[in-house]
Symmetry: C2
Subunit: 290 residues, 2 copies
């Protein structure tokens, strides 16, 4: 495994792989690697000849009041995990490499980025799309792996790849969960013991929605209200705030009143210091594709 910090060197290595006819699989991360990331690495290795993992805590996708400074960073531990998974290249650039002095170009989006997390985190998805564009141009992958936990991000990156014609295939891997159902996230580390014990209610609420759907319920408002009631009851003793719990069309992210085809049930809830997101697709087991 090699570790690369410069874009130019990364492009050179990527070009060398390509010249040898080797397919490059790419997992972009902000580090603090957990089983969710590693499941994407394993899936990448099944789809490509070489696996590149980027580790970059992207400043432009954090708002002023958000957790950029305290976001967990441990490059050495992340590199060890990558080595265990037989990753070929860790691409770990410094911020100045990705955002040179005087940088002024960005990738924006006018539709999907305005709703859900985009509505409460202005600029977030512009930061995400910009850094993913840079990373795609640095790593030159054939396959890009993203996690379904960040469903809106995955849909936006798919939209960017389509609209800007990036020559890469996007694959969305399923959310990996702790034994008690909590979606793996680097931000789970912000939870206190009591908060952590109660946080699985987010997934339990989504399972409740799946159960109701299984019994024939199609009213989006009733499904969302049931999830919200479940979460409010479970989190009552700790500090929490619900950003949204909503049932949307996964192609447009617009709210549905009735679930007919595929639906995305998405939620964002801040528990203590941790803003957590989770989602499920109806009918259960569906794939996230635009």
């Amino acid at each position: 495994m090699i570790t690369i910090s410069s874009v130019r060197e990364m492009q050179g290595v990527a070009r060398a792989y390509r010249r040898r006819g080797e397919r490059i699989g790419f997992v972009p991360t902000m580090g603090a690697l957990h089983e969710g990331h590693l499941s994407l690495v394993r899936r990448t290795k099944a789809l490509s000849d070489v696996c590149v993992v980027s580790i970059f805590v992207n400043p432009t996708q954090f708002g002023q009041e958000e957790d950029y400074a305290r976001y967990p960073r441990d490059l050495e531990r992340d590199r060890q995990r990558c080595a265990q998974e037989e990753v070929d290249v860790v691409f770990a650039p410094q911020a100045v490499e990705i955002y040179p002095p005087g940088h002024s170009v960005f990738v924006g989006e006018n539709d999907l980025s305005r709703v859900l997390c985009g509505a409460v985190r202005p600029g977030h998805f512009q930061g995400v799309l910009t850094v993913v564009a840079v990373l795609l141009n640095a790593v030159l992958p054939d396959v890009l792996l993203l996690g379904q936990k960040d469903a809106q991000q995955a849909l936006l990156v798919q939209r960017m790849v389509r609209d800007l014609c990036f020559p890469v295939q996007v694959v969305v891997g399923q959310t990996v969960r702790e034994n008690d159902g909590l979606a793996m996230s680097s931000r789970n580390a912000y939870l206190t013991g009591e908060e952590r014990k109660r946080a699985p209610c987010l997934y339990a609420a989504l399972q409740e929605v799946e159960r109701m759907y299984g019994e024939g319920e199609r009213d989006a408002r009733l499904l969302a209200e049931a999830a919200e009631a479940h979460i409010r009851a479970a989190l009552a003793p700790v500090r929490f705030a619900i950003d949204f719990i909503t049932v949307v069309d996964p192609a447009t992210l617009r709210p549905l009143s009735e679930v007919r085809g595929t639906a995305l049930v998405a939620l964002a809830v801040t528990i203590g210091a941790a803003r957590l997101i989770d989602n499920t697709i109806l009918p259960p087991g569906g794939e996230l594709v635009t």
Copy 2:
């Protein structure tokens, strides 16, 4: 020479060239090819193994009141010119190929795009950068050729290539002029006989600035005023409007008060129905690079 209209096919052909180790040179155009474009084609052929010319009148870089509908289009004649120059691939996509229904992603810029032509053509450079990003991802070139006549566009594309790390080298070719000095432009076709006779005054004004600079004048205001006086006198009998005549730092496009290092003298003047631009670099013969 082959003509390709689909992005996917273009990417396939580009990848095949790359697998054979052939360098791809790329000249993006809006068609209506003239000697300015063809000089870029010839330069490309000296820098690369294969030459791709795109022909696409990009709707998103035209304002509502601008000349998108009447912009000259003659694909057959353009293809003949490309064939004469031994171009390898003409990439001529339809608008729906570049902008699929529901497209919502764009490339924006926060600095260089706000001034000069960007100040009077809102959205223009966002349209330019977005289409160039798409074209780069479609053609996958090693070298990208741009013309100095569109100096601000060339600087913005260079900035995008740097900031988004597109793996391509940008080369800016010198402005090609008619015998009387008028910069070649597809929009010269909009000029009436009388306007066409007077239009070379734009270049004559730039030459006057070069002459004054050669005699030691360094005051940017005096240089710009001399150019403006020359143009106003020469165009007095026809309908015209001066958008700007300005002396700027070529790296930042910010106005200079005094010419010390390199300066870009840029002008935009509408003569009748034709909005024409031209520029020169001080000291004369300098290169346009960020």
